[in-house]
């Protein structure tokens, strides 16, 4: 099953990817492809939309309908697609800056409206493409080119943000726990409302090198393991122990019809009402 997925879903002529050695993005893309295979839908029924940054190079490599849009606006583009193609699976891949900085407004509104699209956030806590600037999820005290003496701003918790704004499926995993990641993405795509999967992934070159992890992929992967804590275990840990950690697992999984499908239901209801009136008249 392994190699067939690669051949079926990857645009092999676009290989190799642009991602640096040891970057976690390729792992997330692999997980996404397996999720698509498990969902079993035709490639023509899938749209993959991205913004700008290393994460957003993903659609270039995947053989479905793909859109590489402007920085932070992937969700807005995806909303347009979903509205006109309601039965397509519309998946958005974004970086942490893409999703929570320049695109933050679109993110929280998509959650509030329960827009039926799936958002996979490649969360490496840095702007990698442009060389390592601070992003909204850069850990407190971490170093970046625009925080040469340590980041003084506390980071966003993408999960809390999504929960607060009303997303109906919210989960987090990491590239260190790939089986779990596969499962979460599948459930996210299946959810009929706004799904958010926050994925902790390392950036050895821009983040690792500046934060005592060196560019060594193994040290960076080890760091991912250390900063992610499953929900059950987190419940027994003190606030102090949880500082700087990302809690993984499913945080919300409720069934609400997504906005687009609500529109469709309304349309059908009105059509039926008109027809009935037509018969009576």
């Amino acid at each position: 099953m392994k190699t067939e997925i690669v051949k079926k879903y990857l645009r092999l002529d676009k290989m190799p990817t642009v991602w640096c050695p040891g970057c976690g993005h390729g792992i997330i893309m692999g997980s996404l492809l397996r999720a698509l295979e498990l969902r079993g839908r035709s490639k023509n029924d899938i749209a993959l939309v991205s913004g700008i940054g290393c994460s957003s190079r993903t659609p270039g490599y995947v053989d479905v309908h793909t859109l590489h849009t402007t920085h932070g606006r992937a969700i807005a583009f995806a909303t347009g697609i979903k509205m006109m193609k309601p039965d397509m699976s519309v998946i958005v891949v974004m970086g942490d800056g893409d999703c929570a900085a320049i695109g933050g407004n679109h993110f929280i509104h998509a959650a509030r409206r329960n827009m039926d699209i799936t958002a996979v956030v490649y969360n490496n806590g840095i702007y990698g493409m442009t060389g390592g600037q601070v992003s909204p999820t850069t850990p407190y005290d971490a170093f970046a080119t625009t925080a040469p003496y340590g980041q003084m701003e506390p980071p966003f918790d993408i999960v809390e943000l999504a929960l607060g704004a009303g997303a109906t499926y919210v989960a987090r995993s990491s590239v260190h726990n790939v089986p779990k990641l596969d499962e979460l993405i599948v459930k996210g795509i299946k959810n009929n409302g706004f799904s958010v999967i926050d994925v902790i992934t390392p950036c050895p070159i821009a983040y690792g090198r500046r934060n005592k992890l060196t560019a060594d992929p193994m040290k960076n992967m080890q760091w991912v393991k250390e900063v992610t804590v499953p929900r059950k275990k987190a419940e027994e840990m003190s606030e102090e122990e949880l500082r700087g950690k990302w809690i993984t697992g499913v945080f919300r999984d409720v069934e609400h019809v997504g906005l687009v499908n609500l529109y469709i239901e309304l349309e059908e209801k009105l059509k039926r009402a008109k027809e009935n009136k037509g018969e009576e008249a």
């Binding site: 402007t70 932070g72 060389g131 080119t145 040469p148 003496y149 701003e153």
Partner: protein, 384 residues
């Protein structure tokens, strides 16, 4: 003190030496080195300034306006998509008369995605009221930031110092760092007449009906026109103090020129070497480099064009549906002259395609063979 640096860092040092006090910025290729160096200098105390990591370019300009409205000297920098995202508040900065100086790295607009140079991103902002300066090398970039603050703060209109992506932004050249003491004399602290001041509270930007709006906008146009002689004055004064003279335009071998090459920024710089070669072949050709695009130096362009037989404008931009933008403005400047020379419009180097000395020579020889301009666009380098 002479230091080899990339164009981006010339911008950062320009802001530092001009004692910028607030720097709200968002990273975008190819501008990142500008803000990284500034963030470093703010953090290590080399600059007595606040670096604000904002969440997008729209916030970068909005925060700049807020800071400038309190009377602080503000610097920011961006490029292409980022500059476009600022558009709404670029207008606001002019209406609020906040003399912000911004570095813009010329980069072509998407889609398709590109990081290479083209002037359409900044030229597309030509109606917002921002003054626009196109630099041809890194020394001019640094020097222009200082001059831009002096002019901007005199007329209370913001200004962009614009340089080409990679051709300047990432190219290292030797740059003379002006001496801080002399710069402090040349560029005194910013003291605006109107500012947000708790001791003297006022409401800014209020609703203004048709009875008052026209007079306010008229004053903006007046202020930008007043900047025309100011750029030459400040450029000349800069020459006296620092030994490098600047002005609205720069001419090269035009005294006896029969034909003129008109261009801007790094294209004009390369064109200068083409003029030398053409002169060796006996061609009576000169170069007019337009340094300040807004306010547009129409009068000086008219006087130079009055004595030539024909001119070719080389644009690294395009106003879709019309033509090159410098071409439009040059043609418009001479339209009402008694017998303006024929003006040819060439578009080259779009999306960062390289424009060599030989390309400029070919352009010149092509237009010399034509008896008159037959179209508004002569394409150079596109594979038809």
């Amino acid at each position: 003190m002479r230091k080899v640096m990339i164009g981006n860092h010339a911008l950062s040092y320009g802001a530092k030496i001009s004692r910028a006090q607030v720097i709200p910025a968002y990273p975008i290729t190819p501008q990142t080195e500008v803000v990284e160096l500034l963030s470093e200098m703010c953090a290590n105390g080399e600059m007595d300034a606040k670096f604000i990591k904002v969440e997008s370019e729209h916030s970068a300009m909005t925060a700049s306006i807020g800071a400038s409205a309190t009377g602080a000297r503000v610097f920011t920098a961006t490029s292409a998509q980022g500059l476009a995202l600022m558009h709404e508040v670029l207008h606001w900065a002019v209406g609020a008369r906040t003399p912000i100086v911004m570095g813009n790295i010329n980069r072509a607009m998407a889609p398709p995605w590109t990081i290479w140079t083209e002037q359409t991103d900044s030229l597309a902002q030509r109606d917002t009221g921002w003054m626009q300066l196109y630099a041809q090398n890194s020394q001019e970039v640094l020097d222009s930031v200082i001059q831009a603050y002096k002019v901007a703060e005199a007329v209370q209109i913001p200004a962009m110092v614009i340089l080409a992506a990679f051709v300047l932004s990432h190219t290292s050249e030797a740059v003379e760092l002006p001496e801080q003491g002399k710069v402090d004399e040349f560029l005194p602290p910013y003291e605006p007449e109107y500012r947000i001041d708790p001791a003297n509270p006022h409401a800014f930007g209020g609703l203004t009906g048709p009875d008052g709006y026209f007079e306010l906008r008229y004053q903006i146009q007046k202020a930008i026109e007043d900047a025309l002689p100011k750029w030459d004055e400040v450029g000349a004064e800069f020459g006296e103090v620092f030994g490098r003279k600047y002005g609205l335009i720069e001419t090269y071998k035009v005294e006896d020129a029969k034909n003129l090459i008109i261009s801007s920024a790094t294209l004009a710089s390369t064109a200068r070497t083409a003029v030398d070669t053409l002169r060796e072949k006996g061609e009576k050709v000169g170069l007019l480099r337009i340094r300040i695009f807004r306010p547009f130096p129409s009068a000086q362009i008219r006087s130079i064009l009055s004595s030539v037989d024909r001119a070719v404008v080389v644009d690294r931009n395009i106003s879709f549906g019309a033509s090159g933008i410098f071409y439009q403005e040059v043609k418009a400047a001479v339209y009402n002259e008694k017998n303006p020379p024929p003006i040819f419009g060439v578009i080259a180097g779009i999306g960062g395609r390289d424009v060599t000395k030989k390309d400029i020579i070919d352009i010149y020889e092509d237009i010399m063979r034509m008896d008159e301009p037959k179209s508004d666009i002569i394409w150079k380098g596109v594979r038809l």
